[in-house]
Symmetry: C2
C-alpha cells in the first residue's frame, strides 16, 4: 500500500468540483461541492447518533437504503437542520443534481454543514449547478475539500493505492470537521471513494467496524453534531473480483480504509477549532479493547488535560483524574503515564503515583505540535488510540461569535 | 425560613478559623481551615465517584463510618492525591487536630484541595495548628471559607434559620469549587453545619437525596475531581426533638438544606474558573425527573453552548444539539427554547424549529450576568435545573498554567 495524490478523485471514475455559490457571504469561501462517479457505486454510510438530525441525513439514509449511490452534493454555511422545510430543500438539492448530471436523485448523497436553525435558500444552489457541474474534473478533490470547510483552516484529503486480486485499487477521501466533533457518532463529514469492487453489505461492514477505532475515537470539543456522516462509494472500476465475504481481500481493503481514516482523524483533530496541538492518547495494557477506548477518549475529552497541553504543562494528575471518572473498570494503582513528542519521551507517573522528572525536559517535549499521552493500565494486552487537540483561547473566540 | 449571616458558624456550638500556614507560596492566601463543634455531632458525607480518590477521602470515610464527627480540617494548595504517603499525611492531620483541640482523631473530617500528585508536607500544617486553634471563633466562617479556596475568586457561605418542633434551628455552610467541577460526584468541597437534632441515618438520607438535584446538577468544566466531598455535621444544640424518621420535621429540614445547597450551587457555578456568567438551564415538561436532569446537564455541559453564552449569542441550535446527544429519550420536534435574564425573556425555538426573533433583544438579554436557558420538552410534568457557567478565555488561561 502506498500514499498517492488525488484525494476523493484518486479512484478511477470519480470527478469532483467545488465553487462559491453564495450561501456563505464571503466570496472567497467555496460553499458547494459535488462528487460524481462515472458509474453507479456500492455505498455505505454512518450517521450522527444525535437525536436532532439534519434533514440531509434523513434524505441520504433513504437514498442509500438500496446500498447504491453515484453522486454526493454538499454545501457549507448552513446545516439545514431544525428547519421546517429541511427535507424539501435537501430533496431539491438531489433533484438539481439529477437535472445537471443525469444521476437519478435517488442515487445522490446530500449533506450540509454550518449553522443550525436558519432556513436554507435553494436559490443560490440552483444558480450554482451549472458552474458546479462544468467544473467537475479528475483534479477536483481540492476544490471539493475546500467547499465543505466551515471553521476548518486547512483542507483535508488523502488517498492510497493497494492491490486486490492482482488489480491495482485506490481509496481516497476528503473530510471536514473542526468544531462540534465528538465520538459516539459519525463525527463530521467524510466522503470516501474507491474503485475497488466490493458489495454494499461488505462495504457497510468495513465502514462500521473501522469507525469504532477511528472517527468514534476523535473529539475536538465533546459536542456531538447533528449533521455528521461518513460515506464511502465503491464503483468497482479497478476490476478486481468483487469482495462479497471476509477473507484476505477484505482484510486488505480494511487496511487501506484504516490508513485513510486514521490520517483523516489526525488531520481533523490537529485542525480542531483553535487548536495549536494534535493530541493522541495511546492506551495499552487494557484487559479488553472497550476499556482502552473508554480511557483514551476520557483523557482526550478532558477540558483540563486539553488546557494543560495548551500550556505545555506536564500535569499528569489530570490524566489520571480523567481515567478515574471515565467509568472504565481499572486499578488506578497500576497506571503508568508518559508524554512523548518528536523531542523525546518522559515518564511522569508510575503505579498511579508521581515520580520525579525534569520539568524542563517535560516542557521541551510538550512545546511540540504533536503530543502523545501514553497510558499503560498494567492489566492485559489490549489497546486503543484517541485523537484530540488542545483547548485554547481561539476555541473560545471562534465559538463565542460563530453565528453572528 | 429566613436567610441569616454566620455561614458555617451560624448554627449553635460551631466555631471556625482559617490561616495561612505556608502550603501556598502566596502569603496573602489562607491555606488551612478548621471547623469545630462544641459537642459531638451526627455526620454524613458524599464523595467523588472518581476511581482516583484523594487520600483524605479514604480517611474521612473511615472516620464517618460511625455516623459521628466533631471537627473538620481542610487545606488548600495541595490535593494530597496520588501520593505514596497520602493516607499517612491525612491521618497525621487528624492527629494534629486531636492534639490541638481534644477532639478524637477518629471524629475528624479531613479534606485537601489543590494540585494532584505532589507530596504534601505536614510541617507547615503542624506549625500552623497553634494559631489555627487560637483563631477558632463564632465569627470564623469567612476565614475558613477563604482558606479552602483555590482558583475561586469569592468566598462562598450561606445560612438559614428555620423551626423544628417549636425550636429555632440553623443550617449553614461554606463551599469551594471553581474548576474540575462536574456532576456525577460530590462535586467540590462543601462543609455544612446545623444545630438541628437529627439522626445520622436521616442526615445521610437528607444529604443523599438533596445532592441529586443540587450538586450533581452542577458543572463548570465536565471534569469530575478526585477529592471532592460534601459533609454535614448536626450537633443537636437547637434542642428540637431528634428527627429519626420521615415526617413534617424531616421535610422542613430538607427544605432548609435545599435552600442552602441551591444557593451554594449558584455561587460555585457563577464563580466557575474564568466565568463571566452564571447559566441555569431549567427543563420542564419531561415525562420523568431523570430525563429532565439528563437534558439540563447536557445543555449546561456543552462547550459550544457555554462559548455562545460567553459571546451573548442566542445560538439555540446548540441547545437542541446538546439535548439531542444527551442520551435522553425525547421528541425533538416538541422542544421549545427561550432565553431569560433580568432584561426579559425571548422565545427562540418552538417545536424543534427556529422562530423569528429580534437579535437585538436577544443580545440585550444575553449580555446580563445571569442567564436562564428555558427548555420545555412538551411531554409531561417533570422538571430539573442545572447550573453552569460560560466558557471564556480566562478558563483556558487559568488551566493552561495552573500548576506552574
Amino acid at each position: 500500500m502506498k500514499l498517492i495524490s488525488g484525494g476523493v478523485c484518486a479512484a478511477q471514475g470519480f470527478r469532483a468540483s467545488g465553487i462559491h455559490c453564495g450561501i456563505r457571504k464571503n466570496h472567497s469561501k467555496k460553499d458547494l461541492a459535488l462528487i460524481v462517479s462515472d458509474v453507479p457505486a456500492a455505498a455505505a454510510a454512518v450517521y450522527t447518533t444525535n437525536l436532532v438530525k439534519g434533514a440531509p441525513l434523513t434524505v441520504t439514509k433513504n437514498h442509500l437504503a438500496d446500498g447504491k449511490a453515484q453522486a454526493v452534493i454538499c454545501n457549507s454555511g448552513n446545516a439545514n437542520t431544525c428547519n421546517a422545510n429541511g427535507i424539501e430543500i435537501a430533496e431539491a438539492m438531489c433533484a438539481l443534481v439529477e437535472q445537471a448530471t443525469g444521476v437519478p436523485a435517488a442515487d445522490v448523497v446530500v449533506a450540509s454543514t454550518g449553522v443550525i436553525g436558519q432556513p436554507l435558500d435553494i436559490t443560490p444552489i440552483a444558480a450554482g449547478m451549472e458552474p458546479l457541474t462544468a467544473g467537475l474534473s479528475r483534479d477536483g478533490s481540492g476544490s471539493a475539500a475546500r467547499a465543505i470547510m466551515t471553521t476548518d483552516t486547512v483542507k483535508k484529503e488523502i488517498a492510497v493505492e493497494f492491490t486486490l486480486g492482482g488489480k491495482v485499487c485506490r481509496l481516497g477521501g476528503i473530510a471536514k470537521g473542526s468544531g462540534m466533533i465528538h465520538p459516539n457518532m459519525a463525527t463530521m463529514l467524510v466522503f470516501l471513494t474507491t474503485d475497488a469492487a466490493i458489495s454494499a453489505a461488505m462495504l457497510h461492514k468495513a465502514l462500521s467496524s473501522d469507525i469504532a477505532n477511528t472517527f468514534h475515537m476523535l473529539s475536538v470539543d465533546g459536542d456531538t453534531s447533528t449533521n455528521d456522516m461518513v460515506t464511502v462509494l465503491a464503483n468497482g472500476l479497478a476490476g478486481n473480483p468483487e469482495i462479497t465475504a471476509a477473507g484476505p481481500d477484505f482484510t486488505a481493503f480494511m487496511e487501506a480504509l484504516n490508513t485513510v481514516t486514521v490520517q483523516l482523524c489526525r488531520e481533523i483533530a490537529g485542525d480542531g477549532e483553535g487548536a495549536t496541538k494534535l493530541l493522541e492518547c495511546v492506551v495499552t495494557g487494557a484487559d479488553d479493547p472497550q476499556t482502552a477506548r473508554v480511557c483514551a477518549k476520557s483523557v482526550i475529552c478532558s477540558s483540563l488535560v486539553k488546557a494543560a497541553m495548551f500550556g505545555s504543562d506536564a500535569n499528569w494528575g489530570r490524566v489520571l483524574c480523567a481515567i478515574g471518572y471515565s467509568g472504565a473498570d481499572v486499578d488506578v494503582h497500576k497506571i503508568d503515564v508518559s508524554f512523548r513528542s518528536p523531542k523525546g519521551e518522559i515518564p511522569v507517573c508510575r503505579d498511579g503515583a508521581g515520580i520525579p522528572f525534569s520539568e524542563e525536559k517535560a516542557k521541551e517535549i510538550l512545546l511540540e505540535k504533536q503530543i502523545e499521552i501514553l497510558v499503560s493500565l498494567g492489566e492485559g494486552a489490549c489497546g486503543a488510540t484517541a485523537w484530540g487537540c488542545d483547548l485554547t483561547y481561539d476555541y473560545v473566540k471562534i465559538n463565542g461569535d460563530y453565528r453572528t
